[in-house]
């Protein structure tokens, strides 16, 4: 299949407007006849479900948690970007577009990235209208702060709970439409497979988590908004239930998977303290606005932080990247931390962290200001570690955080399966090889609120003439049988190892070989190791209880089985891309001073993988840069 990105004609600034002007409309009476399945109730899913319902479609919305309000968007702390230029510091749509494109190391489409910047300002208007209590000045106007990778202040925030506040707005709007009987909300329902009829997405198979019933849902179009898959590393900043299952199953049914190995490792999480640990807590990147990152210049320095004099501290980000200092983009900051830790300068009980120090900021701005800006983060730090960070520097360390990769989508956010859309973190669209801080709440939201509701008409109008989707179609039966067989097979193994045990094994391989820095030998080895884990899993895993009941162990096992397969594709992708770009750092391709070495001549494309019964086949979407000359990404 030839990939068609469907980028509209016209100048960059006019593309989205041209698209809207030329896309098909559906009249209100016909909209009522069409129904759309939205899997996921995070910012992308809830935004889409509510807006599609407002437009008149019938919507079924699914999530695996007990309420739509718990989607992992809730955990975003730092903020959301918008090119409002409220600070009068030279910001503009163009600059935001450029920062995003450059931040992604020129591995995303110009047209998509521009649209992201263009729709950012109206999104802030939208959220204010929905009652988001963003931070404000005494005079009543909105406040901004800066975030990693940019030099203007364009980030809007609600204390350290921006994601929560945005999600509450989306959830409220969703419940408004539930009340209007236009959305049927199905929490504790997990999508386990996709139903494709005559080449088009026509429904899903889900498991009701409360009693294990397998159910069928049919629709005119299916939208996946299932979030990120960084739990493939096991330890990550994601919620425990976050999974790749929905997109993985869609991939196996024909949707291409783009840039699976592009994953972001966040520089400021709390370090791992033991093997039993189930997740890594993020400390918002906004802390890097005022905190300074350092390690002792002496290796294996056993002194306490406060005993180490100023001239024996290495503020390595300020040293290596004087222009951006502590605000260097995430991939760079994480790699720099790893470099120092690997070189023996790590701090903390397991020597796996670096310091994030607020002493200077407190001296300069006063304790009150720091408390006002980051109070809840300091409180959280204390709850988890028992340490008061107003007195001692925080200990931080890199952690798996965000998946730039995801299902390949065109400009309309449609995957390679007609009628199947992917929105929010689960697609590959705007961030390229590295996402800028505060850009993904934005992407998830505009995908759901603004883009999809405008593009889906184009497809749905062709479906009006078709037969209404029906769960009695034989294909539903076939896919349901596949799902049931998969579960029965898993339950029957009754081996000797727990699901968590396998997840730890997978996580170790992925963190070692497919995280911050990668190399050919390591990736080749990882693929073999993961294939072994897969074999072992399917002969040795033990899941107790039954499939016909609420069974958290089975839920975990099903998610892990998909992660294992996805992990193989991630390594295959990382191996194939023989360059360093953004978060994808191949040790073989670096400059003399250890910076990423991109190869535009050979790799200026998006890798879109076809499942091809497990013999992954690569398709290339060439990237053309008409408006911006790809430069070497330097933050020095």
């Amino acid at each position: 299949m030839k990939l068609n990105s469907k980028i509209p004609e016209g100048k960059l600034e006019e593309k989205w407007r041209n698209y809207q002007a030329n896309s098909h409309l559906i009249n209100p009476t016909n909209k009522k006849k069409l129904n759309v399945i939205v899997v996921g109730s995070g910012l992308a899913g809830a935004g889409a479900a509510a807006t599609l319902a407002e437009l008149g479609y019938d919507v079924q919305c699914f999530c695996y948690q007990d309420s739509a309000r718990r989607a992992h968007s809730v955990a975003a702390q730092g903020g959301i970007n918008a090119a409002k230029n409220y600070q009068h510091d030279g910001d503009s749509v163009w600059r935001m577009f450029y920062d995003t494109l450059k931040g992604g190391d020129f591995r995303s489409r110009e047209a998509n990235t521009y649209r992201l910047a263009e729709l950012s300002a109206p999104l802030i208007d939208h959220f204010v209208q929905q009652g988001v209590p963003f931070a404000r000045e005494y005079g009543g106007v909105l406040v901004n702060r800066s975030f990693g990778g940019v030099q203007v202040q364009r980030t809007f925030y609600a204390r350290g709970q921006t994601g929560q506040q945005l999600l509450m707005a989306a959830y409220s709007q969703l419940y408004k439409m539930i009340r209007a009987k236009k959305v049927d909300m199905l929490p504790r329902h997990e999508m386990l497979d996709l139903v494709v009829i005559n080449g088009k997405a026509k429904g899903i198979i889900v498991r009701d988590l409360t009693d294990g019933t397998i159910k069928r849902y049919a629709a005119d179009a299916v939208v996946l908004a299932t979030g990120g898959y960084s739990r493939v590393f096991r330890l990550s900043t994601l919620a425990i239930g976050c999974n790749g299952s929905a997109i993985w199953k869609a991939h196996k049914r024909g949707a291409y998977f783009a840039a699976p190995s592009f994953t972001q490792i966040h520089p400021t999480a709390l370090p791992q303290s033991s093997d039993a640990q189930s997740k890594l807590t993020l400390m918002s990147e906004s802390l890097r606005n005022d905190g300074r990152i350092w390690v002792p210049t002496k290796k294996d320095d056993a002194r306490k932080a406060n005993e180490i004099p100023e001239d024996e501290r290495d503020y390595y980000l300020e040293r290596r990247y004087p222009a951006f200092g502590n605000l260097a983009p995430r991939d760079i900051a994480s790699r720099a931390a790893k470099e120092r830790i690997d070189a023996g300068h790590g701090v903390g009980p397991l020597k796996n962290g670096v310091y994030l120090d607020f002493k200077n900021a407190i001296d300069r701005l006063g304790l009150d200001t720091i408390e006002d800006r980051y109070g809840n983060l300091f409180k959280m730090y204390r709850k988890i570690t028992g340490i008061n960070a107003y007195e001692k520097p925080m200990l931080i360390s890199p952690a798996a955080h965000f998946s730039m990769g995801g299902l390949w989508v065109d400009y309309e956010l449609m995957t390679t399966i007609p009628g199947l859309y992917a929105i929010g973190e689960c697609n590959y669209s705007d961030h390229g090889a590295n996402r800028l801080g505060a850009n993904s709440l934005l992407q998830a939201s505009i995908d759901g609120y603004f883009i999809l509701p405008n593009t889906i008409n184009n497809y749905l109008q062709t479906e009006l003439a078709e037969e209404r989707p029906n769960v009695d179609h034989p294909e539903f039966e076939r896919v349901e049988d596949d799902v049931k067989e998969h579960i029965a097979k898993m339950m029957a193994i009754n081996g000797s190892r727990t699901v968590d045990d396998f997840h730890r094994a997978l996580g170790k391989v992925m963190w070692q070989e497919c995280a911050m820095s990668r190399n050919r030998a390591g990736l080749e080895k990882a693929i073999i190791q993961i294939k072994n884990i897969k074999k072992e899993f399917w002969s040795e895993v033990k899941v107790t209880g039954s499939e016909a009941e609420l069974n958290p162990e089975l839920e975990k096992a099903l998610r892990l089985a998909d992660f294992i397969e996805l992990a193989i594709l991630m390594c295959v992708d990382a191996l194939q891309r023989e360059e360093s770009a953004g978060a994808h750092f191949r040790e073989e391709y670096q400059t003399k001073d250890g910076e990423a070495l991109r190869n535009d001549a050979d790799f200026m494309y998006v890798s879109a993988w076809e499942y091809n019964t497990g013999n992954f086949k690569l398709h290339k979407e060439e990237l053309k840069f008409e408006y911006v000359e790809p430069t070497v990404r330097s933050y020095k």
Partner: protein
């Protein structure tokens, strides 16, 4: 570290439950309380037993999905901390820890430590929103809101919907939860057009769901992980009276 976990086991919504004790060895102080339960579950699997069902997702105190009664307190021994942010260093080697689900008529037990809190969603459904469609918003800075008002709204908006307030209240009242949403929206200019309707409908739904009424014991605000103040309830009541008078 070794503790005895005395855990409420109940197979399904309509079966009878009872406590079962599990000696749990191999714990460390750095483990979170939920990681200790994970650890226990791994042991149970290897002994061919059903795992203990308990709720969680984010494990960082923000999604509100976790929540159990630990030694007679919602979310355990500390004030303002979710179950997922509790660590084993809060217990001593040899302790017996009693673990139960939230208990309230409006939160029926699903299994073991898991309850159904969908009543909260239905309260939100009755007006916990601003009626405005996507695409109709005016320029953000056209609505000026003083920092004081915005901060106060944010204090209330911080609720994570965990249900600890209900679980800890002797009347199983949802007044803290409901008031938080009402005050978040009603104190903002955007929320004002529907302010009266909102307070009347949401409080009515709260009663329909079978939550008890508030008698101001203040127990809820002590447990609330988001530190929602009980003054929200007084404010909601004032708003309620005003709405009643004016409608």
């Amino acid at each position: 570290m070794k503790v005895t976990c005395k855990i409420w086991r109940q197979e399904s919504a309509d079966s009878k439950g009872n406590f079962k004790s599990y000696e749990t060895d191999g714990l460390t102080e750095d483990m979170s309380f939920l990681e200790a339960l994970d650890h226990l579950n791994e042991i149970l699997v290897l002994k061919n037993e059903r795992v203990v069902a308990f709720e969680y997702d984010c494990r960082e105190g923000i999604c509100g999905q976790c929540g159990v009664f630990i030694n007679g307190r919602a979310h355990g021994p500390h004030d303002h901390v979710t179950t997922c942010q509790l660590h084993m260093r809060s217990f001593k080697d040899g302790d017996t820890i009693v673990i139960e689900p939230w208990r309230a008529n409006a939160f029926p037990i699903l299994k073991d430590l898991m309850v159904d809190r969908s009543a909260f969603d239905r309260i939100i459904e009755q007006g916990g929103f601003i009626t405005a469609k996507t695409g109709t918003a005016p320029e953000a800075n056209a609505i000026l809101i003083s920092k004081e008002v915005s901060d106060k709204s944010m204090d209330a908006a911080a609720c994570i919907g965990c249900g600890a307030c209900v679980a800890t209240c002797k009347n199983a009242s949802a007044a803290l939860f409901t008031s938080a949403k009402i005050n978040h929206l009603n104190s903002l200019p955007q929320g004002r057009p529907e302010a009266h309707k909102r307070v009347l409908e949401m409080t009515q739904q709260m009663q329909l769901e079978g939550f008890g009424s508030c008698t101001y014991t203040g127990a809820c605000e002590v447990e609330c992980p988001a530190e929602i103040s009980i003054s929200n309830i007084a404010e909601m009541n004032a708003r309620y009276l005003k709405a009643k008078l004016l409608s």
